[in-house]
Symmetry: C2
Subunit: 298 residues, 2 copies
Amino acid sequence: MIAASRSPAPAAVFAATRIGPAVPANFQEIMATSSSSAPVPRAATAETETPPLSGPAGPAFSPLYQQIKGLILQSLEGGEWKPGESIPSEMELAARYRVSQGTVRKAIDELAAHHLLIRRQGKGTFVATHAEQHVNYRFLRLSPDRGDQQSEGPALRRFLDCKRLRASADIARALGLRAGDAVIYVRRTLAFAQQPTILEDLWLPGNAFKGLTLERLARTDAPMYALFESEFGVRMVRAEEKLKAVAADTDNCEWLGVQPGAPLLSVERLAYTYNDVPMELRRGLYRTDIHHYRNMLS
Amino acid sequence: MIAASRSPAPAAVFAATRIGPAVPANFQEIMATSSSSAPVPRAATAETETPPLSGPAGPAFSPLYQQIKGLILQSLEGGEWKPGESIPSEMELAARYRVSQGTVRKAIDELAAHHLLIRRQGKGTFVATHAEQHVNYRFLRLSPDRGDQQSEGPALRRFLDCKRLRASADIARALGLRAGDAVIYVRRTLAFAQQPTILEDLWLPGNAFKGLTLERLARTDAPMYALFESEFGVRMVRAEEKLKAVAADTDNCEWLGVQPGAPLLSVERLAYTYNDVPMELRRGLYRTDIHHYRNMLS
DNA sequence: CAGTGGTCTAGACCACACT
DNA sequence: GTGTGGTCTAGACCACTGC
């Protein structure tokens, strides 16, 4: 009894339980043991007349390419392929997962659309990384009002503080921790054309970023997210930001060279790694007198 | 001499000149007359050894599905299918353009990804519209700090002004007009929970929005962009926003109920219709004391 | 040259919506 | 049932990369 009605060596891929950090179970094993009592994912009508509804808690099986996407995601998460490296070719993955190349392609397409993978014709498919030049400041949306980011030169980073402390209630909630759990706190400024323009406070889960020091931060010229990848194996995949206009207070105005009460752009960012796990809370204040935060709506 | 080397009735689609508003030339005619001297788009190696470089100004021919995408775009732009209507099925389009269904599918996929089309399984593919409920406020990124947009109730719109005037230099430049050209100017507020929260000034090309009046704006409950679609045939496809933190001045503070000098979020939006034609310049001031501008980075 | 991703086609079946 | 988009497969050829 096979799960699908198509002719040649069809694959029966079940929606893998996304829970747990372990490497996914061997694929063939799943296939070999799956046809006993578990509901059949697709195309079962040829042999059984059971309706697609598999039960009260049946989580609905996803299309094959979504399951492949999930398996690739698990390999990324588990570190089987590291940022910057190439993943196996489409043909190899098709063989591994026992599906056609087209199905693997569609899975990779979606991952590439979300910037988790990067395809390079003739070379292969690579795990996206924050260490690449053209992706360097993908998450930094501040641009000069006139001229472009190139003409302004690179941002000058200055780290003011880095220490381990216990998470307050709101920090813990944002990061999915418990109040009192250890977090790493960082404060830094970013300057454009000699002018400090951004003042940021960061909180990172202490567990994942054990050993991060101010000295380590200052030692490299790479973006912080590139450092997180290489030193801690944490790749930031996406982020949500909340923007407000606020007035500068006496604590922060000096760092940015403005008067108390001057309008500043407040940017609170929650950055996620694979599988929507929050890994960084960042609260920034931006001077926007000669810069602006750019955004595309579509 | 045919342009492609594949077996059954291949289509020779040339990159249509994107210039000019006219309906694209008949497809079969292009195919019939194309093999004379114009450079062959793809797969010419079987008959000619000319390198892909077709000349100093050779604009490089695009893949078939990109050309199909362009043709569909022209039909959308030309109004052959209006917002909310369904477009022909994939099979019909494949027949019309003399390509396979899969190629049409890929073209539609990209247009759907950019929210120009909406696919509905079992029903068809539809031209996206701002008149739909769930897309209603896709371009409004302000959210309450606590609770969600639903609990807050709908925004209450109030139109303060609407008049025809001559474009200043900067307004004209943004809209691709000449200084002095006619534009429609609109001022309005948006209130959440009785509190005016957004004060916006809009400039629209006078040519395309001839006849827009304050009375017409106030008469409907639909979003402004839905009105633009139904009354003026202008569909806003995407927009770019530039955000700054500014201080309220004596002219605008009363509308939003804040003191002069209070921090406000300044949002300048340039909205585009098909083919990247700018159609609206909007300058808004947002109160962000109990709201925030949300943004997703990925 | 071989290997990679990119495009195009053709045909099959599925899930869904309307009638 | 018919027609729609959604998924999956298979095979072909192309364009690019690097040996």
